[in-house]
Structure formats: structure tokens, C-alpha cells
């Protein structure tokens, strides 16, 4: 596979290969925590932070543990264990040293452990054989892209609170429709850069 510039990967993962809008990963927290802009921002921030940390550590684990031991078939289990352990430690550390930040993000951290976007980014990184800097930029971009998407949905849903909607469409149904329209809009960017 040709080496793609980390910066291309960064922008592509925000816009054209957005985790939510083109891969439909991390949907459950995206739908359930998007009714308020403020909490959506908190979750977006937490996802970005955890994504970058887990991807970097999983890259190290993949490169220096899984590959040398030839246990690629165990990568799913190992990646998930690493993610879970990391989120635990992150929560404890945040509670200790950044209590204000923990007060804002703390409740989202356990949710993130089971957010499939996190595992998804790690697995894409393995499938696409990214190097360290590529993985770093890919995870950062994916996190920001996820954050962007949930903030857009939350902003629209806040606006819609005052709108007169037909009862059958309001709630999750409308969220799916909005997400679909947003995804179509993002396809419009696909000519700019491609990574897959």
C-alpha cells in the first residue's frame, strides 16, 4: 500500500471517512447522548481523547507484542482489553488530577469503553498498515470527526425542540433521517481526498 501523508489521513478521517457519517461506527452513544449540545461536546471531547490514547497504545502493542508473538488472531481480544484497562486508568487519573474535567467527562468514560468507533479505528489502522504518525493523525482526525458529527446532530436536535414535528417522525427516527442527510452531504467532499 502506498504511503499516504499523515495530514491527508487527518483531514480525510474528519470529512470523507468520518467515523459516523461514512463508516457508521459509534452510533449508539451518538444517538443517545446528542439531545443536548453541551453534553454532546463533553462526549465528543472524551471520545477524541480516548481514541488518540488507545490507538497509540494499541499501535505499540500491535507492533511490539502481537506481531513478534505471531498472535494476530488474538488481536480483537487484546485490543479490547487494552481499551478497557486504559479507560479505567484514565478515569482514575482524571479524577485525581483534573477533577473539573472529570466532572464533565467522567460519566462518559465508561460509555466509551464499548464505543465501537474506538475499536474500529484500531482495526482500520491494522488493516491499512499505518505507521505511527499515520495512526496518530488517523485517530486524532477520527475523534475530531466523530465530535463534529455528534455536535452537528445535537445542534440540529436542539433547534428541532422548538419545531412542530409530526409525532410519528420525532425522536430516533428523525435522528436517523438527519444523520442520513448529513452523510449524503459529506459524500460531496469525497473527491477532495480518499484514503480507502
Amino acid at each position: 500500500m502506498p504511503q499516504i501523508s499523515p495530514f491527508i489521513i487527518f483531514f480525510a478521517s474528519i470529512i470523507t471517512s468520518n467515523m459516523i457519517l461514512s463508516n457508521f461506527l459509534g452510533m449508539c452513544s451518538y444517538l443517545s447522548v446528542s439531545s443536548e449540545y453541551k453534553t454532546a461536546t463533553g462526549l465528543g471531547m472524551a471520545v477524541t481523547l480516548v481514541l488518540v490514547m488507545t490507538t497509540v497504545i494499541n499501535w505499540v502493542v500491535y507492533k511490539f507484542v502481537i506481531l513478534p508473538l505471531e498472535i494476530e488472531y488474538l488481536q480483537y481480544i487484546i485490543f479490547i482489553m487494552v481499551i478497557a484497562a486504559l479507560v479505567q486508568i484514565l478515569e482514575m487519573g482524571m479524577d485525581r488530577y483534573m477533577p473539573d474535567l472529570h466532572a464533565k467527562l467522567g460519566i462518559f468514560l465508561p460509555l466509551i469503553t464499548v464505543n465501537c468507533a474506538i475499536l474500529g479505528v484500531t482495526l482500520f489502522m491494522v488493516i491499512r498498515s499505518y505507521g505511527f504518525s499515520q495512526s496518530l493523525m488517523f485517530s486524532l482526525g477520527s475523534g475530531l470527526g466523530w465530535w463534529l458529527a455528534i455536535n452537528m446532530l445535537a445542534a440540529i436536535r436542539e433547534k428541532l425542540k422548538n419545531a412542530k414535528l409530526p409525532p410519528g417522525i420525532s425522536g430516533p427516527a428523525l435522528s436517523f433521517i438527519i444523520t442520513g442527510i448529513m452523510a449524503m452531504a459529506f459524500i460531496g467532499f469525497s473527491g477532495i481526498f480518499t484514503i480507502q
Partner: protein, 368 residues
Amino acid sequence: MDFSIILRTVGSLALISGVLSVIISVAEKVLNNYGTCELDINEGQKKLSVQGGSSLLSTLAGEKIFIPSACGGKATCGLCKVQVLEGAGPLLPTEEPYISEQERADHVRLSCQIKVKGNMRLMIPEELFNIREFNCTLESITDMTYDIKRLRMKLPAGETINFKAGQFMQFYTKPYGKVKEEVFRAYSISSKASEHDYLELLIRLVPGGICTTYVHTALKEGDQVRLSGPYGDFYLRGDCEELIMIAGGSGLAPIRSLVYDVIEKGLPHKMRFFFGANTVRDLYYMEEFAQIEQEYPQFKFIPCVARPEPEDNWTGDTGFVTVALQNQVDTGEGKEAYLCGSPGMLDACIKILKEKGFTDQTIFYDKF
């Protein structure tokens, strides 16, 4: 199948999970270790040194201070509210739904959600602070009348109780006879509030009652009895000149405690105690109250017997307690009424008191 693959799989999984668990335990030790924290409760009334790192709710429970909680610390019931003046950090999103604007201004927090991370200053309502469990020894069980027994119980060595005169305790039975389960019932404390290492309860036999039957038939001197408390908001307000006290049967218990409280504290209130009984057999503590009446002119004891027999030579008030009340209390002005007894008697008395100008703010009662 290649045996080495199995070995490698198991080995590497064990290695990785082992390494991860070691990292987590070390992190827990380092990051979650907040050392010893000082909890200052009710402006220095009680100071606790506790190990930090757990929720305030469980930390307090470990110190035998029980904050009511129904959900067990999941932030879904919103009952475990505690005022935290210092050391709680910012309000958490999990608390927000349960904390009103007013409570936010008063620094009220959910004790299950906040973690003890350093020294804290808390305010805990006196009642909660006081509620405890006591494993007492039954020192004596005395017949007061043919159907009322007095239980005098000694608190465990070194333990004391602080209660407001008029409050009640919960009494736990042990399984006996056909009753296979523990039950608990509430009984008013009849002993003096100044007595901190003993508790007295007056228990009337209710035909078919599980707890009272247990007390009257199964309980023996020297037995261990489990109590919790004190509970209740039936206690002296004292914002008046005269206290009108009304009781029937074992309702005498909290009134006795109240009378002693007023006398021992040297309060200026005049007191009139109307004690209703059906027959002369139902009267008890007569000498004691007559004695108090003699020693303290502020106290008047008015026993009323509804149906005295001719051979009783009853010289006191005859008829229901409501009659005496009707004739002897002129107005509700400057008075507070304290009632304890059966619902029927209480309702009749409250009706008369209201006619005389007592209000919901000056009538206090314990119905049973």
C-alpha cells in the same frame, strides 16, 4: 493441531491480561489513594478520620452514619442528599437532575456520587446523625397494668443515646412460636432524655399483635433486644406559656418523657396532663405523677376514668378525656397541645382543641 499454538495463545493472553491487571492495580494504588481525610460534620460537632477514595455515602456508612438511600448509590433515587460545604468539587452531571436551584445554592449534593478526596465539611441533619442500632440488654420487664408492660433496657457498654423527649424507637422481635420472621414496631421512649445509657418503653398487649405478643409472652429479663432510632418529630416546641398534654393507655410514654424534660431543663411552661383510662385498672404511674405534682406547682395531673366501678372509690374526673378537656381548657391562646393515643381518642380531642382555637401549628400528636 499444533500444540504450541494452544500454548502460545493461552500464554500470551495470560501474559497480557496479567500485565494489564498489574498496571490497573498499581494505578489504583497510586491514583486512587487519597490518604486519610478529615470529615468535619455539623461545624465541628463530630470529626472523623477516614480513608479517602470511596463515595461519601459508603464512607459515612463505614462510620455508622446511615444516609437514607434506596438505589444503593446509582444516582437514580436522589435520596442520599447531604449538605457539603467544602471539599466536594463541582456538581456532576449525574447529580443535576436531583438538585434543585435552592439546593444548589445550599451546597446540597448526592452523597453516592461524590468521592472523598480530601478534607470535607458536611452538614448532616441531627436526626440522621443520631439514628443508630443498639443491641440492648433487657434489665427488667415490669407489669404496669394488666396489659401494659414496661421494658427497661441497658445500652451496650460505652454506648449512649441522645434523643429528644417524645421521639420513638423501632423494636425488632426475634422469630418465636409460629412467627418465623423478624418484625419491627415503633414505640415511644418513656424514659428521661437525660438518661443516656438506658431506654424504657411501655408496651400494651394488642390481641393478635405479633410484636406485643412477643414482648408479653416470649421476652425474658436478660434477653438481648435490638432497637434502632431515635426517630420522629413529636418533641417539645415550647413556643408558648402552657402545655396541654393528652394521652391514653401506653400513650403516656412520650408524655412522661416530655414532662421530665421540661422539669429537668427548668423550663417555665405550665403543664396540664390529661390521662384517659377506661377503668381504674388501666391507670398507672399514678404515684409518680402525684409526686411530681406536689414538687412542681407548674405541673397538673388530671387522670380521667370513663367507667369507674362504685367499689373503686374513684374521686378524680369521671368520663372521657374529651369531657375534661371541654370543661377545663378555655382557649388555645398561648398554649401548645401534645397528644399521644389511639386514633379515635386523638381525633375527638383534636376536634375539641380546634374549636377552642388551637391550630395545626400548635397541635402535635403521635397516633398509633
